[in-house]
Subunit: 155 residues, 2 copies
């Protein structure tokens, strides 16, 4: 019995490690950027939506709580699936620029992704992050540059 208890404790105490997170994000994570242009009566606005996220089937969603705690940022939501034979998803997303710049980007710079496709996206994500940090996308010229980076990132 004591063996069982200690093995259960181990299970609970087994914290996430950076390598585990990199493996999971290589397989299941995503980095996305959308430029958002707003034209109003008296002004135009240049915004950019950045997302780091992981979506998992609901039954495996508990991991995302741990990932949220690990990064100490981001939100969880449930995506209801209406198609038959598909299951609901739990979605972990970090969207606020400050968390992306101060937590997400530094983490993956310290612990690099291994999938070439993911590394490539992340490289553009970082470039765009730098523009966001310096608010370089807030005029027409900067916004055009950002849009062309996004286009390349999506290829």
């Amino acid at each position: 019995v004591s063996e069982k208890i200690s093995s259960a404790d181990n299970q609970q105490e087994r914290l996430l490690t950076p390598d585990y997170i990199v493996g999971l994000v290589d397989g299941e994570g995503y980095f996305s950027v959308s430029p958002v242009y707003g034209k109003y009566k008296n002004y135009t606005s240049f915004e950019v939506k950045m997302i780091f996220g992981i979506d998992l089937k609901e039954k495996d969603g508990k991991i995302l709580n741990e990932i949220q705690q690990y990064f100490d940022c981001g939100h969880l939501s449930r995506k209801i699936e209406k198609r038959e034979n598909f299951s609901n998803q739990i979605r972990y997303q970090v969207k606020d620029h400050s968390s992306i710049l101060k937590k997400i980007i530094p983490f993956f710079q310290k612990h690099p992704l291994r999938f070439p496709s993911r590394q490539r996206k992340f490289k553009f994500f970082v470039k765009i992050g730098r523009m966001v940090e310096k608010r370089e996308y807030k005029d027409v010229k900067g916004f055009e540059k950002l849009k062309s980076l996004v286009q390349k990132m999506r290829q």
Copy 2:
């Protein structure tokens, strides 16, 4: 320049770690079992196909070479995709019973998967592995037991 070179070296030397593999397999791996019953003129045969595998898009397939080296078993193959907007896949699979029993199962016992759905499949995979080790599926009774485990595993 020297900085660039050393960073490139680091990239190459960065070996896979167990935690990374667990994260990747939680997201992208699979364990599957198929009972194979053969009825011939003079005899019947009871076989079981076990597979541990990971399929990735071709552009990320290089990782699977490293995983094959890490586990020191298994085969790589390319799955040609004919549908538009889908890309070819590289498939890593371990099928021989000996490698599964001596390498794959012990690895994931030492480094447990974290996804509940994956843990559950693996638990059945291990149970079936034990039957295979003892050749307990080689008669009608054992084969029926194996089939019912497979059925539960698939639920």
